[in-house]
Symmetry: C2
Subunit: 193 residues, 2 copies
Amino acid sequence: MNLLKRKIETEGVVLSDSVLKVDSFLNHQVDPILMKEIGQEFVRRFHNKAITKVLTIESSGIAPALMTSLQLNVPLIFARKRKSLTLSEGLLTAKVYSFTKQEENTISISNNYIKEGDEVLIIDDFLANGQAALGLIELVQKAKANVAGIGIVIEKAFQDGGQKIRELGYQVESLVEIDSLNNNQVTFKEDVQ
Amino acid sequence: MNLLKRKIETEGVVLSDSVLKVDSFLNHQVDPILMKEIGQEFVRRFHNKAITKVLTIESSGIAPALMTSLQLNVPLIFARKRKSLTLSEGLLTAKVYSFTKQEENTISISNNYIKEGDEVLIIDDFLANGQAALGLIELVQKAKANVAGIGIVIEKAFQDGGQKIRELGYQVESLVEIDSLNNNQVTFKEDVQ
């Protein structure tokens, strides 16, 4: 994903040693062509899985997950962070602690759309400490479905989420892995000798 | 948009005389093929406008807006309902009252991504009393950009938002217009004699 790396290098803003702002193409303004390429790359990386559903979490996960689901021709489900007015019965929930926001959210999906027998590809924009991904895995398990894999746009490899989830046996595919944001600089994993 | 109508007829759930639940293809589970067709239809309806940006609001607007922006090959911006950690300076804001949730939200966009000279197509999933659309119009005006038009997936034509916004002189294109949800039944506008 050289296009994604170039975007991060030219447009990413390092706000601290742990926070990278990518609001110009992923988290606020969205580059649809880049999202399409991201979708194609996830499909390539999970081509050996018979995926039946794509699962993400609102809001920043929706764009890359939609382009993945379009190319797989399977439905997308986005988990809610807040209670929906029209989404009340048959909720599956998981608690997710956000270290950046220092608050706990209850994320939820309806039990109508992910079921036993589903092979679920989880997609998210960032992987850092892994809380969101672990919450999504928990939702899939509560639905008695199977996690086919986890596709991440940007992994902060200097935090331990990726390691934790890989050690649980899941296939985690991160399109770029960042080794450090120290000194206001983005260092990608492959750059480290 | 016969596909959309068929989806509403077969999968929509009328929760009350004013609330239609379309969680199986738009608001929670998302049908990517339908979103693609919706994007194509919006592009067709606004083909006479030189659109430079698509603007929507998280979360349910993102999917139809992304497919529209992809086909227009212009960036998508999604307004935030809640404060973002990495989105702080240069915020343009508007207050939006939600009658269904009975709460006021401050929606916001960064002033980096919509600017003077931009022709902005606003996309949203529902149009009812028009509060969200009016808030998005206000954001575009605060950015000194121009509203090229407003594309709505489902308009509740029995509420007054569509009329209000059309009377302001904006081109509003709704892919389906619902005339009534009375008696647990969806009645489309064209069905009324």
